[in-house]
Every structure is written in structure tokens, then in C-alpha cells.
């Protein structure tokens, strides 16, 4: 026991050092750059000052306004979508509820980048499919213009709506139906029960989701990039990117923007956590109830259509638009004028840089997922099962990257590794390190979900039966963990392949990956080629996810 405790301490101290290094180093450099007003390339800075921060409010105030405006609008829309759908799917007798619940997960797996590209194809001024159709039936002017602040917010809301839905429906499902039923028994009407019991109980959940979504919106990047650049509309994240890519790059300003964004997100997520832990009404018991659904009569079909409409807007239309575009030489919705071709796909798969990028992404995905699944399993075991000192610190460090926007994290990493000896900058290694770090929260959360479900006494019993640590791990812990580890592998792989934010700044000429390449193609070549690339990327991600659902679905049945 003494020996093992010592061994555990060594491992957890090592983990704290490695994870701490990976996670905190970029932030350190971010702070350093923010206050560096001297030579931008020198480290440590030869001159410190607050000039960079102050210039945000004098020169770039419109960018801050844009960001807040887009994030606010998108949050309101996303919460509206999430709340409505959550209420319909948990509290009413809507038809095909189970199927709809499944479908609601799909937008989550479409990337915002793909969604934004698709909506650009659908609703761009003049060339967008909607506007083409409008002109074809004799309409004048443009019906829609997606290249606006509202357009950006709209696309962000569509794809974040499913996150809001998951969070809000979780708080609705965890509410004991007896709380409402007792109000009804006391003589309260449906409406009165909803207003006096349901809403107050669900409110902390909705408020938490709002803060969480708002923080995500502030840090989101892909939609603002694809839809904002044509109209020269910048938010903080895209402005960081253009500041770094500009010549000469203004690193100080980029760092100042990144740091401010990071701090605001930390505050938001802190508020979110405070609400979630403090607002622990008895509703949050971790136990899932299936509340008695309200009978909506004929109105149920209206509710069904609302859910379906969301799926159509977030999944069906975007995918259809991309598919149609990817098989054409010139994107048009007027099928009589269309010429169909496979060139886009053959080009995407044969074009040197594109093919390399795709291969690099898949290679990185496999490596990051394999290394990540193993390391993060050990990490989770240390955090939740060992009594090793500092396990709380390990957990905090592992979850830390979730409060840093990917883009900003990439920025910090960029400087951290430019200054680091070993020449990792510009190689796939650096991208691998970046992916591992930004995906830590995802992997740890996934595996932890399974670890926490495994009753501790299952492991203890093995020990009492005489099994040593290794034997217990091999015969009990790992077999029980298998579905969680596989799930984590697939999720890490999918997340690596679709990564854009952190990759964009870290990609070098010899380490191209698919996400940023899609962005580059969008900016420099045709819509059709971009659509084909986006669909190929989506297909790779989907294959991984389908395997995931097959595996976890079957193991879950086995274990239940």
C-alpha cells in the first residue's frame, strides 16, 4: 500500500507537471505578448505596457460591439430553439418522439464550418440558392443576405441550438414529476403548475445553458470567418486571425484581444458553474425521470413540425445544398441550367495539397485519439479513483482548455513553440500537441462518464478477492471501461479531423490539415471544390461516429 501510494503520487505529480505545462504555457505567452509593446519578436519582452489592451477600446471598439451583438443574438436564438425543442420532446406527447430525439443529436456532429459553408451556398446574395430561386420566379432584389451580422448569428444559433437543447432537456428530465403532480393534486391548473412549479425549477438549467452558450458564441470562429469575411465584418476571433495573418502582423494586439476574450469566457463559465452548483434544487439528483407528457391533441402535429423544421434548417438543407453544389461545375439550384460532374471530388482527392491535408488529418486523428484515449484513461483514474494528492488540481488543469477559445489557444501555442528549442513549430507534432491539449476536456469528460458509472465496490471486491492492482485492472476495470475508452477514441478522432480554430495558426507549409485547407479553398477557389472537401471531411467524421454508436450501443445493451 505504501509503495503503491508512492507510485501514484509520482504519476500524479508527473501528470500535473506535463498537463500544467501543456495547458498553462500558451496562456503564459499570451499574457506576455499582451503586455509586450516593444519588439514583437523578442521574448521576454524588452518593453512592457498596457498599450495593446487600451488600443482595443480606441481602435477596435466596433469589433467588440460586433462580437457582443452577434453573440447576444445567437444566444437568444439558440436558447429559444433549445428550450422549445426540449420542452416539446420532454413534456408533450409529440409523435415520433424517440426518433426526433435521435435526430436532434445530428446538428451537433455537423461542424459549424460545414454549416456556414452550406448556408453561404443557400443564402448568399445573388448566387445563393434561395435568391436564385426567387429571381427565377420573377422576384426582384435579394430575399436573403447571409453575409451580415444576423446571418452569422443565425448559423451559429442553428448549430449551438442543439447544445442548448441537450443542457435544457437534461434539467427538464431530471425533475421529479411528483413535484408537478402534487401541484396538480392541490388544484393548480396546467398553466399555473407550469408558471409556479415547472419554470422556477427549470430556470437554473436554462440560465446555466444561456451563460454556457454565450461563452461558446464569443469564442466561436468558423461561421464568423466564412460569412463575415465577404462582407468585411469582423468579430474578435476573426480579427485575431486577420491581425496575425496581416503583414506586418500585430501580435500584441492579437494577444490583447485573445486575453480579453479568454478572461470574459472564464468569467462566464465561472458564472455557469456557480449557477449549476448553487442552484442545486432537488431537481438535480442525477436520476433521470420520464415526466408524464402533456396531451397536446391535434396541436401535437404542429409541435412535430417545429422539431422537424429545425432538423431541416440545420441538417437537411445544408447537406442537400452542399451535395448539389459539389456535383456541379457551377453552383445553381435551377436544375435545367445545371451541368453535373465528378471533377470536384476527383480534384479534391487528387490535388496534391488537399490530399496531403486530408491524409495528415486522418493520421493526426488516429495518433491523437490513440495516445489521448490511453493517457486520458489514466488521468481519469487518477482524478476520480486514486487518493493521490493533487488529483483535484489534475482535474482542474485537464478541464482548463474548455474555457479558452481554440483560436486563442492556438495563438498562445504558436508563440510558446516558436520560442521553444527543438523546431517543433510548423510540424505535425505541434498540431498533435495542440489537439491533445484542446481536446483534453472532451476525452476526460467522456471517460469520466463511464468511470463514475462503475460502482467502486466492483474494483474493491476484486482486491478483497486477492487480486493485485494489475490483475484487477486487467480483469475488472479495463473490461468495464472499454466502451468509454472506445467512445473517447472515436470522439477524439472526429474532433481532430474537424479541428479548425487551433490548427489555422499552427499549420505550416509542410503540415497542412483539412479544416484550414477548406477555409483556404473557400477564400481562394470555387464554392464547388470547397463543398466537395467539406463533404469528404464530414463523411470521415461520420464513419467514425457510426462505428462509435455501433460499439457503444451494443456494449450498453450488454451491460444493462
Amino acid at each position: 500500500m505504501k509503495l503503491r501510494a508512492g507510485w501514484q503520487s509520482v504519476v500524479s505529480v508527473l501528470l500535473i507537471l506535463v498537463i500544467g505545462f501543456l495547458v498553462l504555457l500558451p496562456v503564459l505567452f499570451l499574457v506576455e505578448k499582451t503586455f509586450n509593446v516593444g519588439d514583437p519578436m523578442s521574448f521576454p519582452a524588452d518593453k512592457h505596457g498596457t498599450g495593446n489592451l487600451l488600443s482595443l477600446f480606441t481602435e477596435d471598439f466596433d469589433i467588440i460591439l460586433n462580437t457582443v451583438y452577434v453573440a447576444l443574438m445567437a444566444t437568444v436564438m439558440a436558447i429559444l430553439i433549445g428550450f422549445t425543442v426540449a420542452w416539446i420532446l420532454t413534456r408533450t406527447n409529440v409523435a415520433f418522439r424517440e426518433q426526433l430525439e435521435r435526430l436532434m443529436e445530428v446538428p451537433y456532429y455537423m461542424t459549424p464550418l460545414v454549416g456556414a459553408l452550406a448556408w453561404a451556398v443557400l443564402a448568399a446574395p445573388k448566387s445563393g440558392f434561395f435568391n436564385q430561386a426567387w429571381h427565377a420566379v420573377g422576384g426582384k432584389g435579394d430575399l436573403f443576405d447571409i453575409y451580415t451580422l444576423f446571418g452569422i448569428a443565425w448559423v451559429m444559433a442553428l448549430f449551438e441550438g442543439t447544445v442548448a437543447y441537450v443542457m435544457i432537456s437534461a434539467s427538464m428530465k431530471s425533475m421529479d414529476p411528483a413535484l408537478e403532480e402534487s401541484a396538480r393534486v392541490m388544484g393548480a391548473s396546467k398553466l399555473r403548475t407550469t408558471l409556479t412549479i415547472t419554470l422556477p425549477l427549470v430556470l437554473p438549467g436554462v440560465l446555466g445553458a444561456t451563460l454556457f452558450v454565450f461563452a461558446e458564441m464569443l469564442g466561436s470562429f468558423a461561421a464568423a470567418l466564412v460569412l463575415g469575411i465577404p462582407g468585411r465584418i469582423y468579430v474578435v476571433t476573426t480579427s485575431i486571425w486577420s491581425t496575425v495573418e496581416a503583414f506586418p502582423p500585430n501580435y500584441g494586439k492579437a494577444a490583447a484581444m485573445g486575453l480579453s476574450l479568454f478572461l470574459i469566457m472564464v468569467a462566464m463559465l465561472g458564472g455557469y458553474r456557480w449557477i449549476v452548483t448553487r442552484g442545486s434544487y432537488t431537481t438535480i439528483t442525477g436520476k433521470a425521470f420520464r415526466p408524464r407528457p402533456m396531451d397536446m391533441g391535434r396541436f401535437a402535429w404542429v409541435l412535430f413540425s417545429i422539431c422537424l423544421l429545425y432538423i431541416v434548417l440545420a441538417v437537411v438543407l445544408p447537406v442537400a445544398a452542399l451535395l448539389l453544389t459539389s456535383f456541379q461545375t457551377f453552383a445553381t439550384v435551377i436544375l435545367s441550367q445545371a451541368t453535373f460532374t465528378l471533377t470536384n471530388y476527383s480534384e479534391a482527392l487528387s490535388l496534391g495539397p488537399v490530399r496531403t491535408a486530408l491524409m495528415n488529418s486522418i493520421f493526426l486523428g488516429v495518433c491523437v485519439a490513440s495516445v489521448g484515449a490511453v493517457t486520458m484513461s489514466v488521468l481519469v483514474w487518477i482524478i476520480y479513483r486514486s487518493r493521490a494528492p493533487g488529483s483535484a488540481l489534475v482535474e482542474y488543469l485537464a478541464m482548463f482548455p474548455s474555457s479558452v477559445p481554440r483560436m486563442v489557444f492556438g495563438l498562445g501555442l504558436l508563440w510558446a513553440w516558436i520560442n521553444m528549442p527543438g523546431g517543433l513549430y510548423g510540424t505535425l507534432w505541434l498540431l498533435g500537441i495542440a489537439y491533445f491539449t484542446v481536446l483534453l476536456p472532451l476525452g476526460v469528460r467522456t471517460i469520466a462518464g463511464v468511470v463514475l458509472q462503475i460502482d467502486k465496490s466492483l474494483e474493491e471486491c476484486a482486491r478483497v478477492c486477492g487480486a493485485g492492482w494489475g490483475y484487477q485492472m486487467r480483469t475488472v476495470t479495463l473490461p468495464l471501461l472499454k466502451p468509454g475508452v472506445i467512445a473517447a477514441w472515436m470522439l477524439l478522432f472526429a474532433a481532430s479531423v474537424r479541428e479548425v480554430g487551433a490548427s489555422l495558426l499552427l499549420m505550416g507549409p509542410h503540415s497542412k490539415v483539412i479544416g484550414p485547407s477548406i477555409v483556404a479553398t473557400w477564400a481562394n477557389s470555387g464554392t464547388q471544390l470547397t463543398a466537395a472537401m467539406a463533404l469528404i471531411q464530414t463523411a470521415v467524421v461520420m464513419v467514425a461516429l457510426i462505428i462509435l454508436f455501433r460499439v457503444t450501443g451494443s456494449t450498453r445493451r450488454e451491460l444493462s
Partner: protein
Amino acid sequence: MKGSDGSSARIEVEDLVVRYAGDVVAVNGVSFCVGPGEHVTLLGPSGCGKTTTLRAIAGLEPPSGGRIGIEGRTMYSARERINVPAEKRGVSMVFQSYAVWPHMSVFDNVAYGLRVRRLSAADVKKEVERALELVQMRHLADRAASKLSGGQQQRVALARAIAFSPTVVLFDEPLSNLDAKLRAEMRVELRELQSRLGITSVYVTHDQEEALAISDRVIVMNVGVIEQIGTPEQIYNRPKNRFVADFVGSANLINGRVKGTPVNGRVAFETAGGAVLEVVAPSALSGRESEIAVRTAYIGMGADAASGGNRMPGRIRQRMFHGDFVQYVVETASGAILVRQPPVTLVDEGTEVTLSLPPEFCVLLEA
């Protein structure tokens, strides 16, 4: 038995202290011994430290002080800085959640401890079948463990715990997840199994009825310390203090003061209501404010002068029919007294009665 140092105890716990992070003291200086073949139960309300004590014996909870010896071997000692890991202690345990591994068959579950000990496949098969036979589960050996009912899982957990013929088995509230009927049945089976296999056991429960029924000795615990150790009869008939009297069985607690000095272990006790009773007292200080306990089952009740000493007049305020017994609330000068009588005759509410409190069952409690 290896390394026996002459003491006859199978399990020795000395001044055990278990502290959790944040300075919560779960177990605060607990000492007891368990003899060979003895069945000892740790009884107490939730949070009293009974499960923590058991887990410390198993090696699953690191203590902060004291000593634990099993079969003469020191398993934990704060002074000697010894802490033998759980898998090296050779004890067995049945968990409250059963901890039946869902990814294995019934056979593999039961075989686990045998395979860890590297028995030959033939021996493993023989021993597993023997263990499953004992719990009447042999016909389900090939069933996946995840497809068992609660009662069946309980039996598998039990078979697994005894399969490798351990001399010491620890039970952590093994019956608490079963329904009342099944629980009563399993109690009988468990007691039979214990004596048939001659195992030494420590059993944890919060169910006082269960504790009295299946143990050779009961250890009543509260807030991390031992309140009383004794045979079930001693605990029931001679509770040491208010906590034990109140927690185990059903008792009346009567306030008053001691008059005079004890003679032959008996002393006069004046209740707050003015009645003078003869009570059992090992030692008592005269004039001290104190309390006595009388079990509700030992109080006699008659329409007029009932036989025996310590008579008390009263009036029945409430009658409740429980089936196995009838409970009366009798209003007396010394307060309301609960009386439990066999349900042979029923006395109406409002009737004037005389209670008799047998002196040998009126116990003066430690303050």
C-alpha cells in the same frame, strides 16, 4: 493459521481512528476482538462509522491511527507503519451493492478468487460448484451476471465470498437492498451458512432486529465510537445508556433521580412524577438526576393490581393493533408509557389500568 502470537482472537481492532479529508473523524478510537468462529455485528445509525470500520479491516480504507490484526498478523499499525494491501489480507467480503461483475458469467464471478489463487481448472470448477450449491444457484452457473435478479445477485456475491474458503468474511449490509420477505429468509440462510462453514464474520447493519437475530455479539456504535458491546440479550435487556436503549428495540425512558445507595445491584429510583421504583443499577450516585429504561415488551398491564413490584396506575390513551403485538399508550403520573402486549386480549382506550414494571428489567442508564 500462520504466525499466531498466542492470542485466540481472529480479528483484533485496537484504538482504530479513521479520518477523512477535511478533518472529519469517521471512526474515533474503536477497539474490539472477534474470536474464532464468532459472528460479530457492528450496529448503528448511518454515519456512525460502522462501514468505515469494516472497510478498514478489509484494507479498503486507510486508517489514521491504531492497529488491526487478523489471525495474529498485524495488518495495519500506525506505530509500526504497516498497512497490508486489501488483496494480501486474505479476508473476504460481501458488498452492500453486491458488486457482481456485469461483464462476467455467474461461474466466472464465483471463480475469481480461486483463479487469483491459481487453482487448477478442475479445482476451480469443483469449488465453484460447491459454493453455488451452498447458495442454491448451481443451475444458473452459466447465466450472464447482468441478467440476475437482486436476490440472485445477492446469492452470487455470497458464493463468491466463500468460494476460496476464507476464514474471515466481512459483510457490509448485505441484505439491505432486498425486500422484507426475502431479507428474513436470507437471514436464516446466512446464519446457517456461517455456523456450517465455521467462518469468523464481522457484519455491518443498521437494522437492529437483524443484528440481534444473527449475531453472537453486537457492537453498538454511534458517531464514531462504541456505545456498548454485548450478546444480543445483554444489549436488549441491559442497555448501558440512552442511545443503546433508544436505538435497539423499543423502550420507555423515564426521568428521575436515584435515592439511597445500591444494595445487591438494586437501587430506589424516584421518577419525575413522584413514583418510586426499584431498578437495576451496577453503581449509582445518590441524588443524581438520571434516567431508566424499560422495554415495552416487559411491562405487565392489568385492569387492577397486577402481580409483581413497581406498580403504576394509568389510563389508556391510545391503542394500536400491529398484528404481532398491540401497542398501548398509557398516561401515568410519570408521563406516557408505551406498553406492548400480545394480541390475545384487547383493552379499550380510556380504561384505567395498573402497570407493573419488573425491577429486573428497569435499568438505570449511564448519564
